[in-house]
């Protein structure tokens, strides 16, 4: 079976580079996550259906996902596996990731909209991140269950907001960059690296630029809400900084 998908430009080097072994990190009806190669940090490539949230490291296919095999390869122009059936996924095109742009913080609108949303993280940990210390970042890294722990989502939201609002994220950036690979899951570390580069799921943009997080809050169980909480923290800090 040959499936032509649309890949994020962030995985172009993986797809078009030399073939590497990949293992399945997780699979569901709308997503297959592959850990690619043995490099450090560990790269992750996601295969998603068109209705899934567009992670920057994804290949999106307009078809039901095939069942993933125990062993796959990524490179030489495709994702391939031979069992349980022969599957080849190629990129018909590459799309640039959603990227945060400079924006004015809108803490008031964000706060009103996400007031009651469950972020999956204790709020005192989030508030502590407001001090922008390495310790606060370490306390959130990898905190929570699942492939993308909620603590990481808060950090990602904060990093994206800080970039957009021109806020100095202090030691938080450096701590995430240096320790995410070891401190959390491979997929979450991958998404944090995207956040450090200003790359995100597109649902972040209306929240960040216009204070409208409705679409973001629908992402995942708590992922969207945790991202939004991180954004809100960055917005509040930058408004306070501007006022002072």
């Amino acid at each position: 079976m040959h499936i032509r998908g649309a890949a994020g430009s962030a995985v172009q080097d993986l797809l078009e580079g030399p073939s590497q072994r990949a293992s399945v990190l997780g699979a569901g009806p709308r997503a297959i996550y592959l850990a690619v190669g043995r490099g450090t940090p560990q790269r992750v490539l996601a295969i998603l259906t068109a209705d899934a949230v567009r992670l920057p490291c994804a290949v999106v296919v307009n078809a039901p996902l095939p069942q993933p095999g125990p062993v796959a390869t990524v490179g030489d122009g495709a994702v391939r596996w031979d069992r349980p059936a022969c599957v080849t996924i190629t990129a018909a095109r590459y799309w640039p990731p959603a990227r945060v742009r400079p924006a004015a913080p809108r803490a008031l609108a964000l706060r009103a909209a996400i007031d009651r949303a469950d972020t999956g993280v204790a709020d005192d940990l989030v508030r502590a991140l407001g001090r922008r210390t390495a310790a606060a970042a370490r306390a959130l890294l990898g905190r929570g269950p699942g492939l993308t722990p909620a603590g990481d989502d808060v950090l990602a939201g904060f990093l994206l907001g800080a970039r957009a609002y021109g806020l100095d994220a202090g030691p938080v950036r450096a701590t995430v960059a240096a320790t995410a690979g070891a401190a959390t899951t491979a997929l979450s570390a991958q998404l944090l690296r995207h956040a450090l580069a200003g790359e995100c799921v597109p649902e972040v943009l209306p929240a960040l630029e216009r204070g409208r997080p409705a679409a973001l809050l629908r992402v995942g169980h708590t992922s969207g809400a945790a991202l939004a909480r991180g954004l809100l923290l960055a917005a509040e800090l930058s408004e306070r900084t501007a006022a002072a």
């Binding site: 649309a6 430009s9 172009q12 095109r93 590459y94 640039p96 945060v100 742009r101 597109p202 679409a215």
Partner: protein, 484 residues
Amino acid sequence: MPVEHVETRAGSYADSVTLMQVSTRVTAAAGVERAMVAMGTALNLDLLTGMGFALPPGTGPNDLVVAVRAEDEAALALALETVAGALAARPVTGSFATSPPRTVGAALRERDRAIALVSVPGPHAFAEAMDALDADTDVMIFSDNVPVEQEIRLKDVAAERGLLVLGPDCGTAVVAGIGLGFSHTLRPGPVGIVAASGTGAQQVLCLLDAAGVGVSAALGVGGRDLSAAVGARSTLAAMSALDSDPGTDLIVVISKPPAAAVAEAVRAHAATLGTPVRLALLGPGNPDLTAATEQVLTDLGVAVPDWPALPGRPPAGDGTALVGLFSGGTLCDEAMLIAADRLGPIASNIPLRPEDRTDPRAPWDGRHVMIDFGDDELTAGRPHPMIDPSLRTERLAAAGADPRTRVVLLDVVLGHGAHPDPAGELAPVIAALDGPAVVACVVGAERDPQDRRAQMRVLHEAGAHVFTSNAAAARYACDLIEAR
């Protein structure tokens, strides 16, 4: 005993490309001499009359005309069955299935983050485009023949809502790596393009592709955007959007000759942006598209490659005239600018000077001439010549057989939306010429479905001189005229 059947069906619309495909299928059916299935636009009625069909009085643009001449009744019956089958190809849905949406507005009710691509006949494009804007969605209007006041209204509404209107008459865009309209699959990269010219954008995109440089987006704004009336509304908005995109390092603005005041406004706006802007505004004394692309490469610190080219057969006979037959308006413009400088006035249906206007359907008077087959008056109710090259191919055969012709200059545009094998259509006609030389510019990217290299080779083997730079092709054509 040949039989003829002419039938008009009110209220059964199908798009011109679909009808062309139906016509092709019916014409190919056994025992059919001539056939055309088309909407009854003035241009199509002319063609039908020219094919010898007698049309019922009162046939209008909303009528579907089925005209078939077959060798006998049995062949006619078979042909009409083919028409019925081809037109009924719309998928039949079971009663529990959802039907496709009937308006852009209905489609966008269940869609976030989309672009609407509108290619309905021009008089009806406004409604669909406004649906998109009402759903806070950007729109690309591929349709031509949209009145300018409607264009202005759409662009003003878009400005209020922070949206972009690409077009009307926007032939080319690249968004999220998707080539929309007549376009190409391109690698992602740092160049953002704003183009008031579809084929101009295609030329620049394909040259960048040949040089290994990708694009963040190519936003077509429609051929009229830089007119005094429209005042660069979409150009300025698209420049600002690209300026705020962190993935765009350099903005290139491509246009046919713009109104002077508007060109000034674009320059002034460019000066306010944080991202560097390279203007490629075609006009006398300005750099051609290839030169502009080379400047972009230099800006990016990328080496300028040798643009691929293949040699062809020299002209024979006593002809003196240059005949340019273009599917791309901007490519025609660029060739005229280059040729006018060297050879003097060029007659055209899109002339550089009003006094050089010629009716593309009138008999040729032997002057240097360049025809844009994609111009509105030659596309009403018909597919664009990049999709249906038949009008141009006929003209190529005629010009090639005319002893006054010395050189025929062509553009051959590849990519999504274009004919699957344009070189294959042209090659037999080119190979059959014994007098004039043929100079062809192939505009195509590495990953285009037609395979650019193979297309170039087919034209070369038919005897054409093949270029990938339209400016280089035009200069070479002038060389051949002057060498006489």
